[in-house]
Symmetry: C2
Subunit: 716 residues, 2 copies
């Protein structure tokens, strides 16, 4: 299935400059002229700066890399050539937020030679109308083939003490609440920001992860991230908080090296997106555009998924993944037919059938089942190498009978591969595990990497693990399997090339609501940070926000109203969405649940109606497979009023608007379940104003209606 794809594109090559080596500076503008890049050598050091509408947004910043043994690719260069070009192509993603995507940039490639070593390095800049992407390239050459990177030294010199929404730089987890602060305050807030995690490795008092969202004093939004992280180590940013300069900080391997390279090769792209409008950050397709076109010839087997799952009851502690209460097990030696079940194992035939029935009844594609396989008794935090085999079900999970039952109901089960970070073990079993999926009618897998990586010393975001995650995705494609990888490296747009990588978690998701709670404004930040690189399997849809109702020993509160949970299906983009709560709870709120049933997971158009990081986001999206639209608003811890226009609707048409909003007096803490559902008749001239409570929001479905069908409904 993996063959190079022929793209339709118009490529215009304009050789504008061929400069002799004594010329030190190059300029590049974005197509619309708003951005200006200047590249130069400052005493032999490659340097760039970026202006937006003639104002500096990146001050002169140096580029380059440090190699092992005190070598470098950061100084003593001369320019031997440079080329510019323009590229303008519209391409069609297999699934996404829009039907088509325009990839339109001006490009500058500077070819450098290091004077004493004769090493060659190119830097390729692409200036889009929303910002800059650039990467290092190492052509085939005589004086550089195998090299080991000690640290990348890409600078991003900020022009002021911007406000930032950040999580601590960490080699192993992103599962932190965001802190919003000025850059100068990061150092003082770092200790508090690093909350406990079973696998974590914060590395600096001023280190942060990407995507990093910022806002200048003048109100310019600036976002830093990377695209196309392949064959390299994930980048963090380390802040010099005297000068407000970020420098790239890569994730090390077990012996402290950052990446092993063989020329010809390149680094990932470093991206800078900027706009006066926060919504432009969200709507930028730069990350995707910087990735390679789709690698598979046949993509017909890749389809977005709506699912429910035997999961939340284990997350809350109501049930267990494990079948028995044994202190430890050895796969193949422990005889589960002889152990006493603990009576709390959720992944059993009866329950799974009930979930299959519910999925079939309400139109869900798949049922995730966690805890179906031997090994859960001692999987967590033991650094256990042979922890799962991904093949052997517990005695109460009849994989064949359930396959047939699901099939008879038009539903699939979703596979679960928790690796416990034991990467070699997963790879040893991977072919058989994927074949097992094929044999039992599974076509999608949620994988997990909870706990420190094995081989010990490696990190979740190092080159070693990054290589593994892509290996798992590519091998999955050989079996027609789609992947949703949790605890893996945060995405960087690889879904363009490998569209069976449907989603990742790779941030603090809904499960943490049951582990003490997420910040109320968490989902008003994630699209600006985590989701710049790709979809997130946030697993929303929690209606019973008082976790003690499920597990009296767990006093966590999900910090949300029900209306906001519905909104998340629109605001937390993903082609794979879960209705995460228990069927018995949904059955109590079927009117609200209707929105989750109606909302699609593949879109032809996406708009941002309102957005301020940390405060609120309102998205409007058009279903790819109909003329229906959906709106969602997520609100922070303040009471706010949202006022939106429906001018995106098709003129001359009428729509049934079903508005699911916070009820009067609703509040995530004191009254989360108060919601109101109202139906209206709307068209492109309509507008609406909705009060959102702390932790609240609203969701609106807009279904195209026949003329006259809606008379009698209130008109907006």
């Amino acid at each position: 299935m993996q063959k190079p794809m022929k793209t339709m594109m118009r490529y215009i090559l304009i050789i504008l400059l061929f400069l002799p080596s004594f010329v030190m500076a190059q300029d590049l503008n974005s197509p619309n002229g708003n951005f200006e890049l200047k590249f130069s050598l400052e005493e032999g050091k490659p340097t760039y700066q970026l202006n937006y509408k003639q104002i500096a947004i990146i001050k002169p910043s140096s580029l380059g890399l440090g190699l092992v043994e005190e070598e470098n690719l950061s100084e003593n260069f001369e320019i031997i050539a440079s080329e510019t070009a323009t590229f303008d192509e519209t391409w069609t993603p297999v699934w996404g937020e829009t039907s088509t995507i325009r990839n339109y940039y001006n490009e500058l490639v500077v070819s450098l030679k290091q004077i004493e070593t004769n090493r060659l390095m190119n830097i390729r800049f692409r200036l889009f109308n929303e910002g800059l992407g650039f990467r290092y390239e190492f052509p085939q050459q005589e004086h550089l083939t195998y090299f080991t990177i000690k640290e990348e030294k890409t600078q991003f010199a900020m022009t002021g003490d911007h406000k930032a929404w950040w999580i601590a730089g960490d080699y192993d987890t992103q599962e932190y609440d965001y802190t919003s602060s000025k850059l100068s305050e990061i150092r003082g807030l770092m200790e508090k920001a690093v909350t406990p995690n079973v696998s974590q490795a914060p590395f600096s008092e001023t280190g942060v992860q990407t995507a990093l969202m910022m806002k200048s004093e003048k109100g310019l939004y600036i976002n830093l991230h990377e695209a196309a992280l392949v064959g390299y180590s994930a980048m963090h940013l380390e802040l010099d908080d005297e000068n407000m300069v970020f420098t790239s900080h890569l994730t090390p391997d077990a012996i402290g090296n950052k990446a092993y390279m063989q020329a010809p090769t390149q680094t990932p792209w470093r991206t800078i997106i900027a706009s006066e409008k926060a919504g432009d950050i969200l709507l930028s397709n730069m990350t995707l555009n910087l990735n390679e076109p789709v690698a598979y010839e046949d993509v017909s087997w890749i389809k977005p998924v709506k699912y429910i799952g035997v999961w939340w009851e284990m997350i809350t502690g109501k049930s267990s993944w494990a079948y028995a209460d044994l202190p430890s097990v050895k796969l193949g030696e422990t005889d589960y037919t002889k152990v006493e079940p603990n009576g709390k194992h959720a992944a059993n035939n009866t329950k799974v059938k009930r979930y299959i029935d519910f999925a079939a009844e309400h139109g869900f594609d798949q049922v995730l089942v966690e805890g179906w396989n031997e090994g859960w008794e001692d999987w967590f935090d033991k650094s256990k190498d042979y922890v799962f085999d991904f093949l052997t079900p517990y005695p109460d999970f009849d994989v064949e009978a359930l396959r047939d039952y699901a099939k008879s109901k038009g539903v699939k089960l979703m596979m679960h591969h928790e690796t416990s970070g034991s990467i070699r073990n997963y790879e040893r079993h991977m072919d058989k595990a994927y074949q097992f999926m094929v044999d039992h009618n599974y076509n999608s897998v949620k994988s997990g990497y909870v706990g420190d990586i094995i081989p010990r010393g490696e990190h979740h975001y190092g080159q070693w693990a990054v290589n593994h995650y892509l290996y798992a995705v590519k091998k999955a494609a050989e079996y027609g399997v789609m992947v949703n990888a949790h605890e893996a490296v945060r995405p960087t747009g690889l879904r363009r090339t490998y569209p069976n990588l449907l989603a990742n978690e790779s941030a603090r998701g809904t499960e943490y609501e049951a582990f003490g709670g997420n910040n109320v404004d968490h989902t008003t930040i994630l699209p600006f940070t985590r989701q710049i690189g790709g979809p997130m399997d946030y697993t929303p849809g929690i209606f019973e926000t008082d976790v003690s109702q499920y597990n009296p020993n767990n006093g966590s509160r999900v910090r949300t109203t029900i209306a906001r949970q519905l909104a998340l299906y629109v605001t937390m983009y993903s082609p794979l969405q879960m209705a995460a709560d228990l069927p018995e709870t949904y059955n109590k709120y079927l009117d609200a649940f209707q929105f989750i049933k109606d909302v699609p997971v593949d879109w032809s158009e996406t708009l941002v109606l309102e957005a301020e990081p940390g405060d609120f986001i309102t998205y409007a999206r058009k279903d790819k497979n109909s003329n229906n639209w959906f709106v969602g608003r997520t609100n922070d811890e303040e009471e706010r009023t949202s006022a939106i226009y429906f001018d995106f609707l098709e003129k001359g048409k009428e729509y049934l608007a079903i508005v699911y909003k916070d009820g009067k007096g609703a509040h995530w803490e004191t009254n989360p379940k108060a919601y109101e559902i109202n139906k209206y008749r709307v068209n492109s001239k309509s507008k609406i104003s909705i009060d959102c409570v702390p932790g609240g929001g609203y969701a609106i479905s807009l279904m195209e209606a026949e003329k006259g069908e809606l008379k009698g409904l209130k008109k907006l």
Copy 2:
């Protein structure tokens, strides 16, 4: 193919002692009473000592382990139980030095409990008539399940400044010449002993590897090694040279830990073999006896192998493994059909066919071909991850045609899997690589691990790699493949359990003769050290000892006479033996070559006629499949006379003895090719005296003859 085997055994359990906890000491004797073990707790520390014929050979030495986080399993114990037993069983190896092996020992198991932690640990001692084996065991228990070993602290307190034949303790290589010195001299000789290697990690000025061979002042031979290295890290010995106490030193992982354990589990066995007769050390089967019985149900596909190979001409530099002279390649991207061949690629169709013809003509089973596959241009010392795919031949190696050609000649090709230390890459390809072998009629593979291990930070002898080597052997069995692993951990008797592990190199072999030379006495030491744990693929049979004859740029001399090369087929035990030189050279010495053709690789009886480590070894072995005997003598750098009796021959029978010995004036350096072949008529009363030159030796085939067949021959 892997099922537990039912053994025939007689097991006598005698509970001799059930001691209350205040009794601190236990005794155990070997069946013949020569050895006496004393175990005790010295202020809560487990301690043992070993006497031989009432003389201490191991002074009181402590036992135990250090765990991470300052925990320990080495002190503060009490004895809660002890049991003794006797075991006597004779079993049949699939192949070996003898037809049957007797496993006869007295056993003591002490059960210990650590007073403050309540952790349980057993120590199992088995006293054989040739020495002691013991290991730590960790039963299933409440207070110890997952634990990480920081260092094992097993002591072996020597009773004097013994003479030792040693190589430097090293986490990554054993490819050193041996040094013979007193223990007190190790420190001063270490620097010289550590010669360069592409992958090495010596760790101490007084660290040495096992098996360690020693000789006390009084002439007692003492050998220290380990048996059944499974799921653990390889042991070295670190010498406290003030007190002459060795302490175990395990191989670390990337973060400095030694082993990750899950109870119930156990360590490998630590072995102490001792005798006044050097030959008893060589003939001991303790290592095998301490391993588990064979794991496979069907072993009919496992057969010893005699082979030749397209190899030595690359080792000498006459030809190349690589097809082209490219600075670097990328598998799947480099198009070998378009590159210019370097004209020195040995693994080509014409040459391989010639080797197949030679093998068929002279009765060899297999032809090894190295350099058959893409990737050799840049495989060495680049820390290259995706270095080989084990599947894709070079353009001049037609794998299908050669399979068919070999088959038509009744010969098999031997596969070669050089991994370049890139373990994950090998495992990713392993199933396909083994299937490729099956599809192309290969049933044996020489594997290699040249260069630092990838994942970086791991070592060749750490728990991680030890796990991998066994994984490769067990998976090979699924495909009916036999394994000969070079640069892997030195063997510890696993061939009993997994008899498709035919051999390892895992020491300085014949190839080093072309890299500058081995010590002249090297092969008089290896059987006492490297081969205590298992066979060695030493690849002897070099007749052209002046390497410059093959490659004018390589002035190395193989430090041997031709006669000694023949002897090595008897003295360097292996079920897999190579005639390593080039066919064109053998064609010049077909009379000498006849011995190599005649010598078998599977034996029913083995005797040591003469032996002194570092000086000489003379073995006599009986062919398993006939009544023929073979004798071999390897000699050091001194002129010596060997005098042996043929009293091992069957009484009343006559044998044709063909004696291949050093010619007059032969010398490894000045006259290596001088040899004499004489035929005699011998019987069990015969004897012979042969002069051996520096680097010389002799080989004798003794073929049962019919009465009267040999008249006319000189009688011995």
